[in-house]
Amino acid sequence: MIEAVGLTKRYGDKTAVYNLSFQVRPGSVTGFLGPNGSGKSTTMRMILGLDNPSAGQVTIGGYSYRKLPNAPRQVGALLDAKAVHGGRHARNHLLCLAQLSGIPARRVDEVLGVVGLQDVAKKRSKGFSLGMGQRLGIAAALLGDPQVLLFDEPVNGLDPEGILWVRNLMKSLAAEGRTVFVSSHLMSEMAVTADHLIVIGRGQLLADMSVRDFISHNSADFARVRTPGTDPAQREKLTAALTEAGGQVLPEQDGALRVTGLPLPRISDLAHDADVRLWELSPHQASLEEAYMRMTQGAVDYRSTTDQRAGLQQQLPPGAVPPQMPVPGQGQPGWYAPPPPQQGGQPFAMPQGQPPAGPYGAPGVPGAGEPNPYAQPAQPAPAQSAPAQPAPVQPSAAPAQPSAAPDLTKPEDAR
């Protein structure tokens, strides 16, 4: 079991990890999530005694790592696939690690077989691909048959077969009663691998809960309701009925309605009572990725911006605004996460200059005071018939993010 109490790490002025307390229990895979630069690797290094915490402590089975009598026999770690001397061949690399903790050489051949590197055992690791490097790192972690395993981005660079293998490996390790602590950016992978999640942002704990709790706490499940497209009156009738019954209704681009706050049978009953036919009534379960994006969007340090390619273009005459051609999906509210259902779905401050997104169905009528970013008075040249999306097609653009900055930003993890 890994236990951190008040773990803090400062590098000069910058606080990388602040007052982090959590426990990682045996018998399950615990995912460790956070945006780039949020302190995941620093935390991992402190667990492994590579970095000394500025305050607080972290113990493994009650011992601080550097006090463990034979660390590799109790803790196996993959920190960085490139943390090998490239001039040494794979078997010697593992052999010198094995000898360091009194593990017999035959165990080296064993783990080489486990990770599937037996054919390149005598090849220098300089020539290894990223995936092979990851396998070598996993082999090193498994070498001591340890009780606690830490993996930092283990599936980086692995092929689909390797990803499946790592997923099953971690599950089986946890099923044997080991503690498995794994960080990853691949949400889809975490969703199927991890049982429990620890999420940090800007060095602080954001969440420590099971995957299912995490998703339901940080996203809204909603129902998509579609009325016959030929009759907008029916849609308005249903909207009124649902709102009256306490539901929150948000129109979607294609004419469907996004309903929260009402169970599906109740929506059906209301529609029946209002004498409205339904073409679609479907539940929408948020994914881990959506929940994660929602939770961490305020804690993202490194954000990508849209490439304006201004440096490559001719200088525009002063005063002219370059036409914006938004990529569909990018920067559009609702593209990754529905707004939180309740107050408190936003446990930390949003980035400066951007007030918290109002609760679902807030009376943010499109264009109410805030200009739609895409509706800027661009002066399109006559030849500019590129697929610039006309503003009116985006009725849902404004409500969720009333004052989105005109430069289209998106979390860099949204890939």
Partner: protein
């Protein structure tokens, strides 16, 4: 030992929302042994012999010491050895060859920092001082054995070529010469451990060896710095080797120079240990 009791369990559990009881812990069927320096020594021996830089630096060292030594031996005649030991041809090779040992000494530790291997090593052995101790011992033994063999070989061949010219004892020069260059390498290892950067540490060591050999020429120009220049002249690395091989035998066989190097090396090792335990990897 494999399943240490979680002592801190009673402390206020900060993690909320644990949905289930903790699973049963896994215990490896293989018994866990307590590790000691012997393990680190075998590991470092595997490391030093499994990289090419070791073979290259030691190969070049042997080539320089033996090659230049035999050339010098062939160019000299019996009378040249009347007052000096038969190992003196090795001296000229060692002047260049010591740079190879310095390079190897730095690389033994800084290559781990350069590649990131050090994080793997210190994860596998959080007792960092043990790793550094093993590195120092293994490197010193390798450097000493190789340089003693090289000097001894040159001495043997020279005494065979120019035999009977003198009965100077030359066994001591083999040991002292090998000790001096090996200690330079150990010093380089300690400097490499402190600087953690190959090029930086090698440059620093070259400066340490070469600057005291060059600087006295300038210091002598000033009257007030003359004593400093004299000391530097006496104790710089090439001159120390010259004294060990009794090229100018007026004041001692280089023992005081050897003692100074031992002192400097010990200080550097102490600094390396302190920084090693304190710094983040």
């Amino acid at each position: 030992m494999s399943t240490p009791q979680p002592q801190t369990h009673q402390q206020a559990a900060p993690a909320p929302n644990w949905q289930s009881a903790p699973g049963t812990s896994y215990t490896s069927p293989i018994p866990v042994t307590r590790t000691h320096l012997g393990h680190a020594l075998t590991s470092e021996w595997t490391k030093i012999k499994s990289v090419r830089s070791t073979m290259w630096t030691l190969g070049v060292f042997l080539l320089l010491v033996v090659g230049i030594g035999l050339l010098v031996a062939a160019q000299t005649n019996d009378n040249d050895y009347a007052d000096v030991p038969y190992t003196i041809p090795a001296f000229f090779g060692l002047i260049l060859g010591q740079i190879c040992l310095i390079t190897l000494g730095v690389l033994v530790v800084s290559s781990e920092y350069g590649t990131g291997m050090i994080r793997t090593t210190f994860t596998a052995s959080p007792q960092r001082h043990r790793v550094l101790t093993a590195k120092l011992l293994i490197f010193f033994v390798v450097a000493f054995v190789v340089s003693a063999l090289a000097i001894g070989f040159v001495g043997l061949v020279t005494s065979g070529m120019h035999g009977g010219a003198s009965d100077n004892e030359w066994g001591g020069t083999v040991l002292k010469g090998a000790l001096y260059v090996s200690l330079l390498g150990v010093l380089a290892l300690a400097v490499g451990s402190m600087l953690r950067h190959s090029a930086g540490a090698i440059t620093a060591m070259l400066g340490l060896v070469l600057v005291p050999a060059i600087l006295p020429a300038f210091l002598m120009m000033s009257e007030s710095l003359r004593t400093v220049g004299d000391k530097m002249m006496d104790y710089n690395a090439p001159n120390a080797l010259a004294k060990i091989f009794e090229i100018d035998s007026e004041n001692g066989g280089g023992t005081s120079q050897l003692v100074l190097l031992i002192g400097v090396t010990a200080a550097a090792i102490a600094g390396a240990y302190v920084l090693l335990e304190r710094r983040d990897v």
